[in-house]
């Protein structure tokens, strides 16, 4: 009987050790999940904060530009400057448009696609913006809506004539010799993933 009891105790201890081990693993896993989760939430918050707060600084820079006609960087280490103000009166929305639509600039606001024209020129103007921040309102525009663009050359009015979804893997942006405005953003709106090939494409023309 004692022999039996002794062997039983050793087995139980072994089991209890392995349980301790798995318990600790679990804690670690949970701690990691909490940290990573928290970090992700903070990052997304940071992205949004950056997107919206930057617009205030950009607004100030744009005011300066309108006053003296010079380009002004919204913050001293910025690599871009505002080139236009975009307004959609019906939706009561407006955005400041930055020069050069690269990934870094787009994080701060809609941007002008290099190689396209500017309002007032006989060439297509293209502004692009993120569909989950600055250009999320493009999901609500309609054919016929007025789009006002304020540049250093004055104010230009466009009316939306067409909206479509294109696959950027199959098509490229076509720049024609007309003064038209194209706004593009990723599609579909409210998508959880990024990097898809579809683009929402709003075409507006001078009238």
């Amino acid at each position: 009987m004692p022999v039996k009891a002794g062997s039983f105790t050793i087995a139980a201890r072994k089991r209890s050790q392995s349980k301790k081990w798995s318990n600790m693993m679990m804690r670690w896993l949970l701690a990691i999940a909490l940290t990573v989760g928290g970090w992700q939430v903070l990052t997304s918050g940071y992205l949004l904060a950056k997107a919206y707060l930057a617009q205030w600084l950009i607004a100030d820079a744009w005011d300066l530009t309108l006053q003296d006609g010079q380009t002004h960087r919204p913050w001293s280490w910025a690599d871009t400057h505002p080139v236009a103000k975009l307004m959609i009166p019906r939706l009561n929305k407006s955005s400041y448009v930055l020069a050069d639509a690269n990934g870094r600039n787009l994080a701060f606001g809609p941007a002008h696609v290099l190689g396209s024209g500017m309002p007032g020129e006989a060439r297509t103007t293209v502004f692009s913006g993120h569909n989950d921040s600055h250009f999320s309102y493009l999901s609500k525009v309609a054919v016929g809506d007025l789009i006002q663009v304020e540049t250093t050359q004055g104010e230009f009015e466009y009316h939306i004539v067409e909206m479509k979804v294109v696959d950027s893997d199959q098509r490229a942006l076509v720049i024609s010799g007309e003064d038209q405005l194209i706004l593009t953003t990723c599609y579909p709106f409210n998508s959880l993933t990024t990097g898809g090939s579809l683009r929402f494409h709003v075409i507006a023309e001078r009238q």
């Binding site: 396209s116 294109v166 490229a172 990723c186």
Partner: protein, 683 residues
Amino acid sequence: MKTAQSIRAQLEAQSSPNKQKNSQQPKNSQKNNYHRLGLNWKDVVIFSFTLVIGLTYNIQVNAQDAVQFDDIQSGMMMSFNKSNGEYRSLKLQNTAFDVDVFGLLATVTVKQQFTNQNPDWVTEGVYAFPLADMSALYRLRMTIGERVIEGEIHEKKKAELIYEQAKQEGRTATMVKQYRPNIFTSDIANIAPFETITVELTYQQSLRYVDGYFELQLPMTIKPRYIPADYDARLPMHANVSDTMNRHIQVHLDAGFELDEINSLYHEVKIESDFQQQVITLEDTQLYDSHDFVLRWFPSLGQEPQTALFSEVLDGYEYSLLMVMPPENSQKLNQLRNITFIIDTSGSMHGQALSQAKDALLYALSNLDADTYFNVIDFDSNAKPLFSGSMPAIPENINKALRFIDGFSDDGGTNMAPALEIAMQKENILTDRLNQIVFLTDGSVGNEAMIFEQIAQDIGDARLFTIAIGPAPNHYFMSKAAMFGRGSYTHIGDLGQVDESMRLVFDKLAAPAMTDIAVDWGAKSVTQTPQAIPDLYLGEPLVITSKTALSEKLAGKLYAVSGLHDKQGWSEQLQAPVDGRTTGIARLWARNQVEDWIDELMLGGDQNTLKDQIIELALKHHLVTEFTALVAVDKTPNLTRMAQAKAAQTLPYPQTALGWRSQLLAGLFLMLVAVCGRRLTCQ
């Protein structure tokens, strides 16, 4: 003193987290606790992974109408996307085929209309058309709006230069290339949005005669386009699912012979007789097609050979196409034969190739008439004949031959010269008979020039039929040797087909319908292909093309074809109706000539001279060859259009999603998992 029971309970209490509440029922404690949520931690991990993957899974809306080049079964215009290498087809509106047939020569004009239904310029497009075997494209013409672009033949380098320059200047240009031997493609630069482009191309095709009919095949198959079920309705419907296609086909058929029957395999047609020719018109013009248009006509064969002659006069020369049709297959033939089989049994024939060749040979031997003479030569490194001279195919000799063939073993090298030498010795050539030498090998010929010389010198009146087995025999040598030997060349690429293909050759050889054929062209001098006229066999027409300077022609003299048919002399006089309507014969002659020169080039002819000759002839007759290409450039460019095309630069779309949503969701989810997990493990 603790009992074993209580120790165990304590230990378990330490390790199992929710122990305290259920200490009364220790055995069931674990089970109950996990069951509260119906989960254990493994489930949680698996569940969370599934959820994250599920959330990030994106249903890609993608109209999958990308075109695979290998699928092209009819004329197609496609836009090319540089960034992903995909081709998409433009809408086809109209297809019209206009075909002229003279004997076995078909001239096909295809006219197709496409519309660029996208609001974007097609900066780089491709037109592709499946071209049948033995055909040559020589004319290409495009109409865009009111402008006409005509193709020109240039030397290849020059053609490429012209095309590149035109493209850079924003002009519409196209360049004809051969994607694969049977698909030709033409690049199209700068097609405006909603513009309709008409492509018109003309090609010449030599038709085949098999099983008693000639066959013309026009590529018509259109595959319905595939649109996925989850296609987003908000996407513009530029991918036209229902191309309402119009098509027209008209064939003017001048067969040159009386016809028993004309028949269209898959389509309703209307057939009208118009003097010498038949006009065949397609009846239903609207349907989708899963079949190519196939037209067959059956010449009525007689007891004797028949001839047909087509002539065309061009730039002071008369070009002729002469066809000799064999008599009916049921004809009993009295041509005495002496046949020598030369079989390669070198190591490379090992296995299937040799066993099939043996089978075919046994078949040939067992079908020999007793009055036919024969011999078999087995060669590898050395040549070993069955008999020292040809013997009659009496059962005794046939049995010897069968045993000889059974003894074939596959080893040694491939040394052809001695075997050919034995076959052409006088012991194996019988003067009062048709001497046929069948030469079968899978090896490449090393000392071509020497063997070639040997054949040219010793072949005499014998006929040489060459059969090559396997993927890489020397076609040029084999076909040229057969041509000099007034025989034919058969290539069997598929080792599984050796037996079958060889039987066809042997059956043909057993039925010579007319030998010693000669043509009197009624002229002082003439160039003809083939130079040495082969014999006429049942089931296979003989085709000879010629070129004669008009100044060399003897006035009032008719053409005459003569030969030995059924042991008797046979001859026929003919006159070609020079009505100016027959076209394409000159081009056919030029094509044959270019082929001859290319063969010569492969056999080591003088590179520069031959190249210059080929280029000169190709430029004159509008031929796409190894050294020439067809390029079409818009000669009357519209300046504003050029500016537009130039302005129609395309820019890539920027990536426009911050992606904060997925991060936020993933983060919140992970935090939730952590909190729940904590509650489960640490209560």
